[in-house]
Symmetry: C2
Subunit: 235 residues, 2 copies
């Protein structure tokens, strides 16, 4: 733990506890530097973190204020998770049903999105995620099979993301998402407990490793009244 992280944690805690109330001025950097026995630069770095988290507002010449929103939406709300459903809904019972699991070659579209050659193998997976016994999300996934080898039934029935991070020791680097609405498909009607007239929320995503290599393209579909996608966006 670095000094600036420790200071950021300490000040974040003071904001949460109300020691530094919403809308009030925080002590200036020189005072804080004295209090924590560090240089002012280090205090500033701590403030950089809290600013990114949306907790404070800095005004040159005036001082540093606690934002009105500091208490309402938690500071981690802005971070989109890569842990997959299994961890996102850790208080619920998440199960998976494999609808289809094939090896194939990519078409031209997928070759482009996943940076693949014509003869690089891919997994084609269709999985139904079941939460507390109810069908929840229907996932259509295409994955680079050279990058993510060894995917099997056991992995698919648990968490693929955990497998990639823990067993393969790979790190995620980001994702691109496209969110839209669609009419229910035959698949949706069969597996998601949808009627023909029920809208479906679809999240398309390309997920990257830390060096920028795309390893997965997927479409997650769910019945319109079961899930929303939330974003907290600062500044």
């Amino acid at each position: 733990m670095t000094k600036y992280e420790e200071i950021a944690n300490a000040i974040r805690e003071r904001i949460k506890q109300g020691t530094y109330p919403v809308d009030s001025l925080i002590p200036d950097q020189v005072s804080l530097a004295k209090e924590f026995n560090v240089s002012r630069m280090t205090v500033k770095r701590a403030m950089d973190i809290l600013e990114l988290e949306g907790l404070i507002l800095r005004k040159r010449g005036a001082g540093t204020f606690v934002k009105k929103t500091a208490l309402s939406h938690g500071y981690t709300a802005s971070i989109i998770e890569y842990e997959g459903l299994t961890k996102q809904l850790s208080d619920k019972e998440v199960k998976s049903k494999i609808i289809s699991f094939k090896l194939d070659f990519p078409d031209e579209e997928i070759q482009k999105t996943l940076m693949l050659d014509k003869h690089d193998p891919i997994y084609k997976i269709i999985r139904l995620r079941i939460v507390d016994g109810k069908p929840y999300i229907l996932e259509h996934t295409i994955m680079n099979a050279n990058l993510i080898p060894g995917v099997n039934e056991e992995v698919l029935l648990n968490s693929v993301y955990k497998y990639i991070q823990k067993d393969l020791n790979l790190k995620f680097g980001g994702a691109h998402r496209i969110i839209g609405a669609d009419k229910a498909s035959e698949y949706d009607i069969e597996h998601l407990n949808c009627r023909e007239e029920d809208p479906v929320l679809e999240i398309e995503q390309i997920v990257y490793l830390e060096d920028g290599t795309p390893f997965e393209y997927s479409k997650s579909r769910n019945k319109y009244d079961t899930r929303t996608y939330n974003i907290t966006d600062i500044r």
Copy 2:
């Protein structure tokens, strides 16, 4: 323009131009510090920017690499804009039709989301946004009328966000968004050229000023096949 911004710009340009190719090592910080005649800390600050933009990957002990995705999705793609439709679609003709424009008091729900008292005035606005002559988005907006005074027909027919930033000289501080799918409502069918069975994509949002005061709650609805919501999310 600060030195670290100038260095970040210069290096970003080299990445875009291919001087530093994708997947290659960038010169080390000491060399760059010499080249630009600055201290190493300043080079590091420039790198901080490029890392946030998702252009580079830094490995302690190894060096700094250009990410594979550095060229594909532009570095500004990760930033969600507050400029409203008028600027987002600046190459298209954006018009607005005011469906309804009222003053009212907030109900309990809105009192909570917009941090208002029972007797604080609010605008209730329903606007249809028309792009290239076609109905595009139906916006239901509730706005704090004390914070954003002087909204009138002229403002509504142009850009409300421009009015807030330019004329009122207020700065935005972030937003919270909830994206979901829904069935078409009577309003949608009447104004969005929807059929009863057409799904609708809805984006609910609360928008904040820089000190964290919420000033607007809105729902933007559009026909399922006319618009998606895109997010680039780094790390």
